[in-house]
């Protein structure tokens, strides 16, 4: 079981308290009606499916907040977590390995 750091609670807690919430930094288009069918399809369904560092969202059930994380999908290691709305964190050296 992973230990995950909630950036809102500022505490590292067991995975049981969290749920996965899909890839991060995919913002809902401001005006969906302006999108072509293909663009809308890509927004709905197309994901990077990264092998390695992956930007994703998690929710801390305890405080109810959604936050962003950078997790390596190969090692299943959390490289960092940060609040929703914050800019995409750069890949660290560890993540780039």
């Amino acid at each position: 079981m992973l230990l995950i750091h909630c950036p809102y609670c500022e505490d590292t807690l067991p995975e049981l308290e969290f749920t996965y919430a899909g890839e991060a930094h995919i913002a809902r288009p401001a005006d969906p009606s302006a999108l072509s069918d293909d663009e809308w399809r890509d927004f709905l369904f197309i994901r990077t499916n990264a092998r390695g560092p992956h930007y994703e969202r998690w929710r801390h059930i305890g405080c109810g907040r959604f936050f962003n994380a950078l997790r390596d999908t190969v090692s299943d290691r959390f490289l960092t977590t940060y609040k929703a709305g914050e800019a995409r964190r750069p890949l660290t050296n560890e993540a780039a390995e």
């Binding site: 079981m1 809902r28 009606s33 999108l35 709905l44 969202r57 929710r59 907040r65 709305g85």
Partner: protein, 993 residues
């Protein structure tokens, strides 16, 4: 005294006999025995039959790696356990055990014909032998093969035992309490760190318990172990025996399964049988030691053939001589010590057959002193003996030439193919392994966790080296905690260091194609199976493993993986590291389901949510059904009524006068704030801006993909306050979805979301007399301005309430919400006030029937995550003028507007029979199979109208009104006509009454 027990020897209690049965026969063992050691003490080597060939098998090891000696144990009703390793199960008084996979007897097993027909059962036999004719597969081949193969029988009764679970946080967890583990724990414990030392055996000490002549710091091994354990205890180290580290997970979480009562004659009542520990350790020291490898030669599986180290353990730990005339075959020095110890205990060692040409002079001298002949540069080509080995054939090897053999009589054969570090837990962490060409074995290489590996587990041999390594590992763990300690040194006398060489199958002068040289004893995989798999195109070791099933048995290839790899590599013409090792996965040893479940079973499997009105329902004979985690009143049968009769009565009473229903489980979310209406507009399909306070509206929630996610009536209590209701099962999902949008897409909106599901008790009143009955109880409502789809904050029966006028039945209806603590009071008051109207409590089934008669959908029953509002006939609920809402863009995607989508329609059967929910629908019942299925029945009920009704999704259903479709069922094809989903009062006349 049993025939093979040596008086006074071993760690068993010679003054405490214990009796047990094996296959119905009573045996005596001693306190401290395992089932295997006690049977061996009685001269019993035959303990089971093999998986495929039903070959007679005996214990080959003395520990948890045992592949052969699997038995069933029974402690009472429901307490039968199959596939228990006889080498692990401790003896206790009255233990009942039985052998497995044999018929009629262990010594005469009909299934052993498979052994003669072995040609049929080679690698991949499943895929090629029984292909023809096709029709034979289901009826003949598979049942017969399944019947003949297999290990123990699964128990069928509920396990009455209790299982416990606990969490533990510790600074240093040391796994394995042999020499290395004890040394590591001593190092780690010196600076006050919290240290835990665990071992899977009943006693700590590891192989030192099998090597009593070794002296450490001037003390005999056993005394030294005892003294160190006392020191550890005094230092506050947690010592846990019978505790197996089953898995090593992320961030140093280790699962420990502790066996608590299986060894006790009379376990305390209610004591848990096993306890699962979830341990989070700052540092882990893996000191699990090494596992001895068998040698691979024809007949290496006969009862009486066992690992040399196992024989040494039986001798020293249990005082059991595994035979009078053992022979030894080895490629490693360690087997000599087993031979010497047995000779010193009175056995006549027939020969030591060494595959190596050169043998260490001190070992040769030790053999000579004891009168043991050593045949160096020899191979073993076969063994003889049906139920017990009688002789072994040894042949000299010169280069590649195998010379003439001679049979050497023996009553047991001790083998050693060297030692493999126990890499399992390290592999769980995805730590990489490095090939050590010198010792021909894999060793732990790059670590992924904060762990140290010590002792034989990283290829060291000899106690002096292992103790020093353990102490150093414990110190490094301490440094990992930013603590300091002193390094320890140990002096060892009578040490038994050694080296060896690694083989594929041993050379033979016979036909290798006929040799039954076993690698995986439990799955009956032989060397030629591996070579066959390679010949047939398997290149990856993972494919070889699956094709041959090597290493796939319950022992997970503890003995077989390296031998299998060596032979596969040889067959492929590659070096072992290029072929690679298969992955070890948790659990390390078979673990009971009970230990995983812990407390989460029966009543405590998951929580049961009950409404405030639940006690009334229970007292009034409700039959309950689970809905999500709630238990809900399903129907209220009167004496003599079955479900159908009760539901029909409840339906009719509601339609005729007045019904009352506990709707408290409905999800409720309060959406509040200046931007609440904007938020609602964005989330739900419907327009909310013009909804006046005091009015409510049916709300439809989509996913961004345009499919229906949830629905419910939503009341606007004030300009900035919405009372949202959701489906019972969807409450948490909807709140999470709302939170997601609010937090991450529209954080600028000033809105607060609060779950109020459990804060409100909700009672629904429906029927033509509902208004009449309710009116006198209500204060604070202007009845002249309270039409259908209104809501108000008021009092009902003197209780503060939120009153909704709405209907899920087609009758005049209300939902009264009061604070949950008043729920039962409200219900009781309404029941009393309803007496003049023959008020009838009804349950969820009646609710379903009444709503279906009106064509009201239930999300999750009539929809399945692929249904759009258009598909469900709910276009009217879409705010067409709204620029955007969640899912809107998807409603114009090409596939969503395409013709031929499944659409929700009504169905009436021609013969008036009830359809089955889930039944598939076809347009032409005479088409060839497989038929084209155009939809399925989603809801089906007996109705109040004298005939059953059903709803279904059917391709292009809206354009097929009045057409006939067919529903093929096992007892015949049903005919049904497509209708509107509204079966009852289509003009809503009753709502307006």
């Amino acid at each position: 005294m049993s025939r093979y027990r040596i008086s006074g020897k071993g760690r068993v209690d010679h003054s405490a006999p214990v009796s047990f049965t094996f296959d119905g026969k009573t045996y005596r063992g001693l306190r401290g025995d395992t089932v295997a050691s006690a049977l061996l003490a009685n001269g019993v080597h035959l303990m089971g039959r093999s998986f495929k060939y039903h070959r007679p098998r005996g214990a080959v090891s003395a520990g948890s790696e045992e592949p052969n000696a699997l038995i069933g144990t029974s402690r009472g009703k429901g307490q039968f356990e199959p596939n228990t390793r006889a080498t692990v199960q401790e003896l206790r008084d009255g233990l009942v055990t039985e052998s497995q996979n044999k018929w009629p007897h262990l010594s005469f097993d009909i299934g052993a014909v498979n052994d003669r027909a072995y040609m049929l059962f080679s690698a991949g036999f499943y895929y090629k032998t029984f292909m023809w004719p096709k029709s034979f597969w289901d009826k003949i081949y598979e049942p017969v093969i399944r019947g003949a193969a297999g290990l123990g029988k699964s128990p069928t009764e509920v396990d009455p035992d209790r299982y416990a679970s606990r969490y533990l946080h510790t600074d240093v967890l040391v796994i394995g309490a042999g020499a290395a583990g004890i040394a590591a724990a001593l190092s780690a414990a010196q600076s006050g760190a919290d240290v835990t030392l665990v071992d899977e055996n009943a006693e700590m000490g590891g192989s030192l318990l099998s090597d009593p002549a070794v002296q450490i710091d001037g003390k005999p091994a056993w005394d030294w172990v005892e003294a160190q354990l006392a020191r550890l205890r005094a230092a506050g180290v947690r010592l846990m025996t019978r505790t197996t580290a089953i898995g090593y997970y992320h961030q140093n979480m280790v699962g420990l399964c502790q066996r608590l009562t299986d060894h006790l004659d009379n376990p305390p009542a209610n004591a848990p049988r096993e306890r699962m520990w979830r341990v989070r350790a700052e540092q882990v020291v893996l000191a699990q030691g090494a596992l001895e490898k068998p040698l691979v030669f024809d007949g290496n599986d006969r009862p009486g053939v066992m690992l040399a180290g196992a024989a040494q353990t039986y001798l020293h730990k249990y005082g059991v001589k595994v035979g009078d005339t053992p022979a030894v075959v080895t490629s490693h020095d360690s087997a000599y010590f087993a031979a010497f110890d047995l000779a010193d205990s009175g056995a006549r060692v027939a020969a030591i057959i060494d595959t190596r040409d050169a043998v260490r002079p001190d070992l040769l001298e030790g053999a000579r002193k004891r009168g043991i002949q050593v045949l160096s540069g020899h191979t073993v080509t076969t063994t003889k003996g049906r139920l017990r080995v009688k002789s072994v054939r040894a042949n000299p090897v010169r280069g590649t030439h195998v010379g003439a053999g001679r049979d050497i009589a023996c009553d047991c054969l001790l083998m050693s193919g060297g030692w493999t570090p126990s890499l399992h837990l390290f592999s769980h962490t995805k730590g990489s392994l490095g090939w050590d060409a010198g010792s021909n074995t894999f060793l732990p290489d790059r670590k992924t966790e904060a762990c140290e590996i010590a002792g034989a587990g990283r290829g060291l041999w000899g106690y002096e080296a292992v103790l020093a390594d353990g102490a150093a590992a414990g110190l490094r763990a301490l440094e990992g905690l930013n603590r300091a300690g002193h390094s320890a040194a140990f002096t060892v006398a009578n040490d038994r260091p050694g080296t060896g060489v690694t083989h594929t199958e041993l050379p033979t002068d016979g036909n290798p194609g006929k040799a039954k040289a076993f690698i995986d004893f439990q799955n009956d995989v032989t060397a030629k199976d591996i070579r066959l798999a390679v010949r047939e195109g398997m290149r990856s070791i993972e494919h070889v493993k699956r094709y041959t099933t090597n290493g796939m048995a319950t022992d997970q290839g503890k003995m077989s993986n390296i031998n299998g790899l060596m032979i596969a590599a040889d067959a492929l013409g590659k070096q072992p590291p290029q072929v690679g090792l298969t992955t070890f996965r948790p659990p390390y040893t078979p673990t009971s389901f009970g230990a995983f479940c812990g407390y989460l079973r029966g009543d405590t499997f998951q929580l049961t949510r009950k409404t405030p009105i639940d006690p009334w329902a229970e007292a009034n004979g409700a039959v309950f059904e689970p809905v999500a985690q709630w238990r809900r009143a399903w129907y209220f049968p009167k004496a003599g009524e079955d479900m159908h009769a009760a539901v029909l009565r409840e339906c009719k009473a509601t339609r005729a006068s007045l019904g009352i229903f506990d709707a408290s489980t409905l999800g409720k979310i309060e959406v509040a704030g200046p931007d609440a209406v904007e938020f609602m507009n964005r989330m739900y399909t419907n327009p909310w801006t013009k909804l006046q306070p005091g009015r409510c509206r049916y709300g439809l929630l989509l996913g961004e993909d345009g499919f229906i996610r949830d629905d419910g009536v939503i009341g606007r209590l004030s300009p900035d306050l919405f009372h949202v209701t959701t489906t019972t099962g969807g409450a948490a999902r909807v709140l999470t979805m709302m939170e997601d949008y609010l937090q991450t897409e529209w954080p600028d909106l000033d809105v607060w979301l609060t779950s109020t599901t459990e804060q409100w008790a909700t009672v629904a009143l429906n029927g033509p007399n509902a208004l009449k009955m309710l009116k006198p109880l209500v204060e604070g409502v202007d009845w002249d301005d309270f039409p259908h789809m209104s809501c108000a904050e008021c009092t009902v029966a003197g209780l503060p309430a939120r009153l909704f006028r709405l209907s899920f039945t087609g009758e005049v209806g209300f939902e009264v919400n009061v604070p949950a603590r008043h729920g039962l009071t409200l219900w009781t008051a309404l029941m009393e006030a309803g007496k003049p109207y023959d008020i009838c409590p009804y349950g969820t089934e009646t609710m379903h029937v009444l709503r279906a008669e009106k064509g009201y959908i239930i999300v999750g029953q009539d929809t399945d995550g692929t249904v759009t509002p258009q598909d469900a006939g709910l276009d009217w609920a879409i705010g067409k003028a709204k620029k955007d809402f969640v899912g809107k863009r998807s409603l114009s995607r090409p596939d969503i507007v395409a013709k031929g989508r499944k659409q929700l329609v009504g169905l009436l059967t021609e013969d008036g029979s009830l359809l089955q929910e889930g039944a598939q629908i076809v347009l032409d019942p005479n088409q060839p199979k497989p038929m084209k299925m155009v939809g399925h029945v989603t809801s089906s009920y007996q109705s109040t109208m004298g005939h059953p009704i059903a709803m279904a999704v059917i391709e292009g259903g809206f354009d097929k009104m009045g057409e006939t479709v067919f529903i093929p069922m096992p007892d015949g094809v049903r005919k049904a006509r497509i209708t509107s989903t509204v079966f009852y009062d289509p003009d809503n006349a009753r709502l307006k009454a």
